[in-house]
């Protein structure tokens, strides 16, 4: 699904690269935690997959295609196949939960009748039944993150990238979001989640990829947050 071959990314020439010679392969349907200290390059790795950035050298492949060589015109198609959620939710304050999800469908040209039927369905799936008409400031952080997940899901992405999705949430709420991502992964969506949340990583026991100063220092099948020898 995702393959990185000798990927290096330097934002400014001369400085230490944000990612240094990364080799990584993620299969379809996998769940991967991306851990590492602040500034180790986790977000940069996710941005390469979204074509927000291009690697300085090396090849990033998604579904067999070299992401850097996708023509600009077709990048939106990549982004419909790669969903993403962030620590800060990124919702529109002047739209309801349903409105935020519908917005994502509207701007990608989905027909109105599809939007009408799918939005309540997806909000129900992420556990927001009955809260469709609440504005973001009337929802808890956990609920806002669920709206963001619902918005990422409506395009039926093959991969869901989550950049510290629990970073702004208390542990219990974070665990709820974690369960949601786990459920999404179980129906076949590949999930890559960058996180500092050691407790979650330790309880889930999934594949862990650790970065440090931009290099891959650990890739463990069912790892914890800290390396186990």
């Amino acid at each position: 699904m995702v393959r990185m071959t000798s990927v290096t990314k330097s934002y400014h020439s001369g400085t230490r690269p944000a990612l240094d010679d990364i080799n990584l392969e993620i299969g379809a349907g996998e769940f991967v935690f991306l851990v590492g200290p602040s500034g180790s390059g986790k977000s940069t790795l996710l941005r390469l997959l979204l074509r927000e950035e291009r690697p300085t050298s090396g090849v990033v492949e998604f579904a067999g295609r070299d992401v850097a060589s996708i023509p600009d015109r077709r990048v939106p198609l990549l982004r419909r196949q790669v969903g993403c959620v962030f620590q800060d939710f990124r919702l529109l304050a002047d739209r309801t939960a349903a409105g935020n999800v519908a917005f994502a469908m509207d701007v990608t040209g989905r027909p109105r009748h599809v939007v009408r039927t799918v939005v309540p369905e997806v909000l129900d799936l992420v556990g927001l039944a009955g809260k469709e008409n609440r504005y973001p400031d009337e929802l808890s952080g956990g609920e806002q993150q669920r709206v963001a997940v619902a918005r990422a899901l409506v395009a039926r992405p093959q991969v869901l990238l989550a950049d510290e999705p629990t970073g702004n949430l208390d542990p219990a709420t974070g665990a709820g979001i974690m369960n949601l991502l786990g459920a999404i992964n179980r129906v076949g969506t590949t999930v890559v989640m960058a996180t500092h949340n050691a407790a979650l990583v330790d309880t889930m026991r999934r594949r862990v990829v650790e970065l440090e100063h931009g290099t891959l220092v650990r890739d463990q099948a069912s790892g914890g947050y800290e390396p186990t020898l």
Partner: protein
């Protein structure tokens, strides 16, 4: 949550065959809603843009109508009459024949045409068909019969005038070109002035549209970031901005068209038509110019937005 098994029920519509390859843009309704919301949100800037576009297009339209006026006057003189010899109503047949023979023999005169009172009235009614007030006050008896001359050299009109003025049966000799020269000069100067002011105003409109797009792109940066994230095409991301500007331009065009129509009714028809001896442009010219400024306003504003977007929206 709908229970952990809930996701097995996930019944999202399958993407079209070949994956999410459907690059269709936003529905028109959703697009329009975003554009109009944005216009309302930046009301002060939008109003400034509409005012600037209105002034610009009104000046442009006025310039175009002045040109239409020049054409109307040209048409009025289409038979290229340069000197007109008005005849006394009491001229005898013999006097008229002698005069005609002299004129035909005159080397300075290229062409002579006699126009009787009925013909003069018919031509007058045609020339002033857009000024009914003038026509209604005149009858065939009021207009003199005349010889209408085309000169071999229009600059020597003065010699003709001195030579024929005061002859028996001649009321007066008029040089129409000389009469019209100041009018042409005024019309030309006004046309150039209107176009120059319209150009300056177009610059102002562009600066304001540029600002409007900047303000609007700033206000909607979260929205555009999300659009990019969920895979909206560049066209879709830009469309609301272009639409916003086009709507403002169209509003300006409508106001300008209204101003030109009001100008035709209150200035041209009610004021000038009573004061001038020349025919004035008709409604066909006004409609053509009104449609023109509406299209130019909409199109140019959309194009200006496109240019501004290259600077303010990175997709």
């Amino acid at each position: 949550m709908g229970g952990p098994g809930g996701f097995w029920r996930l019944r999202l519509p399958r993407p079209p065959a070949g994956g999410n390859e459907d690059m269709t843009g936003m529905r028109a309704g959703a697009l329009l809603a975003i554009g109009v919301t944005s216009l309302r949100r930046n009301l002060a800037t939008s109003v400034a843009v509409i005012v600037a576009v209105t002034i610009c297009l009104t000046l442009l339209g006025a310039g175009l109508l002045l040109r239409a006026q020049v054409h109307t006057v040209d048409g009025f003189l289409l038979d290229r009459i340069q000197v007109v010899i008005d005849l006394d109503d009491g001229i005898s047949g013999a006097e008229r024949d002698t005069l005609a023979a002299d004129l035909r023999a005159d080397p300075l005169v290229q062409n002579v045409r006699y126009e009787d009172k009925a013909q003069a009235f018919a031509r007058f009614r045609h020339d002033f068909r857009n000024s009914p007030d003038i026509v209604s006050g005149v009858s065939a008896a009021d207009l003199p019969a005349s010889f209408r001359l085309t000169l071999a050299d229009p600059r020597r009109a003065g010699e003709i005038i001195t030579y024929y003025t005061g002859r028996d049966g001649v009321d007066r000799v008029r040089d129409q070109r000389a009469l019209l020269a100041p009018l042409y000069r005024i019309l030309d100067a006004c046309t150039i002035g209107a176009f120059a002011l319209a150009a300056v105003q177009a610059l102002a409109a562009f600066a304001l549209i540029y600002t409007m797009i900047r303000v609007s792109a700033h206000g909607r940066r979260r929205e555009t970031a999300i659009m990019r994230l969920v895979g909206a095409t560049n066209g879709t991301i830009r469309a609301p901005f272009v639409l916003e500007s086009a709507v403002a331009g169209m509003a300006g065009g409508l106001f300008a068209a209204a101003a030109l129509i009001a100008g035709k009714i209150y200035l041209v028809d009610h004021r000038f038509a009573r004061q001038t001896a020349f025919p004035l442009f008709g409604w066909e010219a006004v409609w053509a110019v009104a449609v023109g400024v509406l299209l130019i306003g909409t199109g140019a504003s959309a194009a200006m937005a496109f240019v501004a977007l290259r600077r303010h929206l990175h997709v």
